[in-house]
Amino acid sequence: MFAYTVRRLLMLIPVLIGMSIITFAVVHLIPGDPAQTIAGEKATPQRVEEIRKELGLDQPLYKQYLDYVKGLLQGDLGKSLITKRPISEEIGPFLAATAELVLTSMLIAVFFGVNLGIISAWRQNSWFDYTSMVIALIGISIPVFWLGLMEQWLFAQTLDWLPSNGRMDPRIQMVPITHFYVIDTLIYGDTEVLWDVVKHLILPAVALATVPMAIIARITRSSMLEVMRSDYIRTARAKGLSEFWVVYKHTLKNAAIPVLTVIGLQLGLLLGGAVLTETIFSWPGIGRYLYTAISERDYTVVQSGILVVATMFVLINLLVDLIYAWIDPRIQYGRK
């Protein structure tokens, strides 16, 4: 297990180098002049030229790349062109906001997705099975922005049960500690504000959870059905184990591998792909941070931000792989 982990970690190095080259290349090939952006729409051409020099944009590309990597190795993600603050400082709260949202929606997605899948498989071809698979189909096809707007219309505007946007009531001021508001309010021990934060989380988390929940439900169902037909399950039943035990312990464990893969992939996707949900619910997360940076040509933020998100994606996948090996000791990739 240890050797496997180390080997997987070493394999990360070429992946990370490749990613840094790709993000760097993509950003530098986009049309548009960052120097012009910084100088503002009304700057003189001389000033634009000066800024180009300051940023090293007059250097050859390979040299710019090497400087960038040198910075990265020292933990320097560069400075935002617009705010002039170090990106490593700036990006934290946005990452935390997205992580809080994504983790909550993954909890919802996994809990409901897995259970729906299991029960559908258990009661295959029952009305429950049909209904939940139709719901799952709708869940996959529904556009998130539409669902988000409908949620706002119903639960915020019409019923007035939940707030329509943001992370907490703007009238409350909180000095954030971890920038995970649920954790922060717990640390402060203020249950009233905690409740407010949770209420703000519900609508966006549900909107974001729909697609992964539907995918997880379908995968769980098919994977469960396959395992249920195997011999050892028949043996377990023959031994007289309760049906619940057979399904949730014996079957689920072997059916879990493909489900885990999907969960890992979805988790990674949501981290960078929650832009729509973040926009509709004005959630100040990493997706919107990058989106704004792209539209403002803040290219240092774009390249480092994408790199950070991509790195997290890779790390999550690594974690999923490690969990495979842990769940199923037969899996030891690449070992002869």
Binding site: I38, G40, W153, I187, Y289
Partner: protein
């Protein structure tokens, strides 16, 4: 059994982490809940910086306008000038020396006094590139409005000096007509010298001014919270205890937030939502006169657009009324002149080219294009305040132009790229526009139509209109401080421009703003910098 350490370790880590965090927090400020009245202003994007001289975007200036004051300010309902931090002022007859008498007993939010030294310090910081506090970013608006920095050839301000503690003297190299209008612009707001000296780089995150509200908290991409300044010099204001700017990027979601009571007032409405606001008794609609213009530019460097008959012909082929009803939901005024009618020197006697395809055809025939011609029409992909749907407008124009024998090919780019292309004169026809800065006609006519601004690259006169006659009028008006004389000069310039037709002026877009019915005292100022300290709202529970 091998499995256990994995979970134990993870749990131990989480526990340890939270212990560390609790420990870190021992001295923290914690959570503060609201008391008193709050006004929550919803908008589409966050501010970039809160040092007003370093920004050009409206979202930043909306906030800084509430934290700082300027020497003079715009009247509540138009762009005329009234006292701000300066109570009164006078100028020498030649307009080259201005003396400002400052308001007494005004304090910055950090408790330091506002006086002549503070004014001199701020202007020195802006104009002198070698000033120790000329830091933190670009000072874009300064060189833009005052002809450059200290030492530059065209720099307007020769010196700013203290006469006594409450009197400041400005000596100018040459008189400029819009001098006071420039000083009223929110970028030229006076910040606390003490705070700026402490850290000029971070001043933009810890703004200190003399304005109606003090800066409290900034959650990036989310909210900016300001608190009432109880010592504000304009007694009786602000009306609310707390002012919160909240960014909600999606227009529809922002409107839902207004209807569900999460925010009190919002800008950036979808035109299609306007009717809903008018019908809803819980809401009210404010219509802001647009200090802007959208136009179709002819690149006069390119054939056949150097021919005035072709340009006039196209002017006759644009149906502004239908453009307004189709693409602005009726919220726009057809543009006759390059700037809107509420500004100084607007010429009401100028007649617009009416929509008349026969006349258009006739003119094209006279110009020798009976058989028609082909033109490329550039249109921006992204919405602009004065042009919410450039591409659709382009398609609309294409249809009508086809009827007079002009075959149009539409070319679109994303906004930043579009600007670069158009400003270097790549286009033949281009849809473009302008948001005014200071409410002075110079800021429209000189910037958009003077030959000095028809630069090879980075032109703001993208039609490359180089009329000597107009140039003379504009330069004379720019350097005169006699407003009556300026009115005459601008009226004349508008006549010539109409005749030469370097553009088809399309519309001045009205900006719709929606608020709760309980809101009182809001005026949608054409500069988009609103005096929110004059707004009151019934207390929310």
């Amino acid at each position: 059994m091998r499995k256990k350490p994995f979970w134990t370790l993870a749990l131990a880590m989480v526990f340890l982490l939270s212990m560390v965090l609790v420990a870190c927090n021992s001295g923290g400020g914690g959570i503060k809940k609201d008391t008193g009245t709050t006004l929550i202003y919803g908008r589409g994007a966050d501010a970039k910086k809160l040092d007003p001289i370093q920004v050009t975007d409206g979202e930043s200036l909306k906030v800084t306008g509430m934290i700082y004051d300027t020497l003079v300010q715009y009247k509540d309902e138009n762009t005329e000038i009234q006292p701000g931090l300066a109570e009164k002022w006078e100028s020498s007859p030649d307009g080259k020396v201005w003396t400002f008498h400052l308001r007494k007993n005004v304090k910055f939010h950090d408790g330091t006094p506002f006086n002549a030294d503070a004014v001199v310090f701020n202007f020195e910081r802006w104009m002198d590139k070698n000033h120790p506090q000329h830091k933190g970013g670009e000072f874009t608006y300064y060189p833009d409005m005052f002809g450059g920095y200290k030492g530059d050839k065209d720099h307007v301000i020769k010196a700013v000096t203290k006469v006594d503690d409450y009197t400041v003297k400005f000596e100018l190299n040459r008189p400029i007509g819009p001098f006071l209008a420039n000083l009223a612009m929110p970028p030229f707001a006076i910040g606390s010298p003490t705070a700026i000296k402490k850290d000029p780089e971070k001043f933009n995150e810890n703004p200190v001014g003399t304005g109606p509200f003090k800066f409290k908290e900034w959650k990036k991409n989310d909210t900016i919270t300001l608190e009432k300044n109880p010592d504000y010099w304009d007694k009786g204001y602000p009306k609310v205890d707390k002012l919160i700017f909240k960014s909600i990027p999606d227009n529809a979601a922002r409107f839902t937030a207004l209807k569900s009571g999460d925010i009190d007032i919002m800008d950036g409405m979808n035109p299609s939502d306007v009717a809903q606001v008018q019908q809803d008794k819980k809401l009210q609609l404010f219509k802001q006169q647009g200090m802007n213009v959208a136009y179709l530019s002819f690149n006069m460097k390119k054939k056949p657009l150097d021919n005035p008959k072709v340009r006039q012909a196209i002017n006759y082929a644009v149906d502004k009324k239908r453009i307004i009803s189709n693409f602005y939901a009726g919220l726009a005024e057809p543009a006759v002149n390059p700037y809107p009618s509420f500004m100084l020197g607007y010429n009401k006697d100028v007649k617009d080219y009416e929509f008349n395809l026969d006349k258009a055809k006739q003119l094209l025939k006279e110009a020798g294009f009976e058989k028609g011609l082909k033109l490329k029409l550039y249109a921006p992909q992204d919405p602009r305040p004065y042009l919410p749907n450039g591409k659709k407008v382009a398609e609309f124009l294409k249809e009508d132009f086809k009827k007079i024998g002009i075959d149009v090919e539409i070319v679109t780019f994303e906004w930043k790229t579009y600007q670069e292309k158009v400003k270097s004169g790549e286009h033949e026809l281009a849809l473009y526009g302008w948001n005014g800065d200071n409410g002075d006609p110079d800021n429209f006519l000189y910037v958009l139509l003077d030959k000095n601004n028809a630069r090879e690259k980075d032109a703001s006169n993208i039609s490359y209109y180089t009329s000597e006659e107009v140039h003379k009028l504009l330069v004379e008006a720019q350097s005169s401080i006699d407003q009556n004389k300026r009115v005459e000069l601008y009226k004349k310039a508008q006549e010539i421009i109409k005749q030469d037709a370097p553009w088809v002026p399309l519309v001045h877009a009205t900006v719709p703003i929606a608020g709760k019915a309980e809101i009182k005292g809001f005026f949608p100022h054409p500069t988009s910098t609103y005096k929110l300290h004059k707004v009151s709202v019934e207390k929310k529970n």
